[in-house]
Symmetry: none
DNA sequence: CATGAATGAGCCTTCATTCAT
DNA sequence: CATGAATGAAGGCTCATTCAT
């Protein structure tokens, strides 16, 4: 009946966590309420009691853990408004990668997030508005800082897409990567390496391809 | 029981095509045998008769249409062994994009292919061996042509990943793109533009980042 | 556990009233304890606490409000033992109709009462003994006054049934009436008209059919 | 998937009959698909297969057996257009009573029909249009033949209601009758007696109360 | 080969009821 | 007395699969 947004009872929290893991592993459809409650060690009816229905639980998981994930890996770690674009980009990419690839407390959240992008449910619109659009705007502004604010929007969108794409890939194509490199997760060092690669790769590409000032020769490069 | 791989009866073919479309639209799980048979205009029992079970049908769809898709958009269109790497890369990217984004005859196959990457089923291993690995090897050799064959493998994998990532993104994150730019498919011209962007973006990035020594030698590298 | 029958706590009374309305609207089965408690503004557990179980609550509602309804519309309003049968009949019919069709304070009780007749629950036996049988006896004596006390019992029962039937109809077949005349309740004037019709219709029928000898003796009877 | 209207497979027919009985006994809500299928001796899924869902089954029961019931007890048995109103009325009342009180093959249908009037479901609108309205029109025309076609409509409706009411009563108030007369069904002879009573009672009442010509003395009475 | 009916397992949800606090 | 969480039994429905014809 009453749909809480925070401060769950013990059972509520346990359901929330179990649900996150199982939704991430199996997807919304394949995941069953029974399995979630079994893992949480509670009665099946409790998801309806606490979250209304399966969909309500799903939405609760999404909104509840998004914030936690963001707090753990803030996209502006170590940078501020005056930092150079390349620093901002690096921070953004690292944050993004750690959030979707990390092995820590909410490691399943990355899976869930990307899964929702791949196969949106009704909860997706909320996620777009609350999580994706702000993130996208931030990246767009970083890109603008690199290629110049007078660059046409289409170009900036292409660059933004290229950056996001490279990050998402390591999560969404995990299955391919696993078969090709033979492991199914990344160490912190590897994530750092990937972050460095994506940052450099994208930064140089944008500068060479689109940076309006790149021919002037007077540009301030990395410190 | 007996899984045919070619020479389907009329009913078999119709099921195969209907199944392809519906699997692509809805995913393996959500797709129902009844819906597939309804679209194919045949009796429900026939999928079990011809393909053993639902999963057998899925595998059949994947293996049957992969070749057709490749024939329609060959990854080496207009290039040969002696063409410069940039031409090869452009051909590869265009082929890839058209296969997964195109609107034509087997347009659903792109969806299906990417969906399988995102959420592998038992059919995935076959697909990796028969389709992904060859394609991956081809791209690796193209990348090697750009960054130099003496570049370390890890670096080459990173570059390969960046290129593939950018292509896949436009299919896998279709949901996000739709909400942000407001349309849900791409015109041929747009696909060409995207192909150009990805090619140029990746090419310049690889040249600047990893092939710097061979051209300028004095370039300021990060870190 | 302990079933109180009077002197309810505030919560108890509120449950009782809310239950009456909801039982009347939805029937015993369809009505849910949660809905009743929601309308009463109390906790769900209280119905079990105060009334044992859902059925106990139902019984309590029935016995508690029957008396109130009778007091509001007494079946002998304006008549006494010496009044002529037609006056007694009119008073009875009016009382009956107002109790089951009225829009006032306990208007839902009429619905509930009739619903119980249509679809008896365990509470029905109590209701028959305490409410229906006395009322039936009263009507039988009125009928006897019209057709003569020496009329055979079967005939009197038939007449009694015809009168009660006409009254109940306007409540029990409300759904049909609504679709045919297009409205879903009756005004006080309409109830009066209906009462007049039923009284006159029944009175004349009884006189002509069964009391013919006593008045004309020469009337042409059917069959 | 395919909703048949007649010619059911064996299982389909058995479900239909079992459903009729159980719906009549317990009402739509209380009746469970499981119970129906248990009585029919078939698998639970078959009601969904044959009738779509529980509601579809209910509707099928209603439409399927209504016709059968009408055929068994036609409301114009032994009368034609030229028969006098009293004969038409007698035929109507007998048909009605036998349909809702009879003990024969579809005896449960009467319960079901009346139950639907008392507590309408979504199927009710169909029933009103297909069964009730035509029946009501027929009775109205019979009433008009008795009280004169120039009688005002409100009066005719009151008379029609009085007749229908007396018939329905014996079904809808079965619970009361049972407790008062001590039996729970009527013999054929009793139904005939009731039919005679209702016919005479109503006929004389209409003639005395409302027949415009009753004072002229020239009226053609019964043959 | 093909069909339509039939099966059984499993899923989400509802609801009266109970229990610890 | 009162509360909010928790329970367990059903209930309707879906779906892949099988079977008799």
């Amino acid at each position: 009946m009453s749909l809480h947004k925070a401060s769950f009872t013990d059972a509520g929290s346990r359901i929330l966590e179990a649900a996150g893991e199982i939704f991430a592993e199996e997807g919304f459809r394949r995941a069953t309420v029974r399995k979630i409650c079994a893992r949480a060690g509670v009665n099946v009816s409790l998801v309806n009691y606490h979250f209304g229905d399966k969909e309500g639980l799903y939405l609760a998981v999404l909104t509840h853990f998004r914030q936690r994930s963001l707090e753990k890996h803030p996209p502006n770690l170590g940078v501020d408004e005056s930092s150079p674009p390349e620093e901002k980009l690096r921070a953004f990419v690292r944050s993004f990668l750690f959030r979707i690839l990390g092995q820590g407390e909410f490691s399943w959240f990355g899976k869930l997030f990307v899964r929702e992008i791949m196969e949106p449910t009704k909860a997706f619109d909320v996620m777009v508005d609350e999580a994706i659009r702000p993130s996208y705007s931030l990246l767009m502004s970083i890109v603008a800082g690199v290629v110049g604010h007078d660059t046409d929007e289409f170009t900036m969108r292409l660059c933004t897409a290229s950056i996001v794409a490279q990050c998402l890939y390591y999560r969404s194509s995990r299955s391919v990567i696993t078969r090709i490199i033979g492991r199914d997760h990344f160490t912190i060092e590897e994530i750092e390496q990937i972050a460095s690669h994506i940052t450099r790769f994208s930064l140089e590409a944008m500068r060479v391809c689109y940076d309006a000032e790149k021919t002037t020769g007077s540009r301030n490069r990395e410190g």
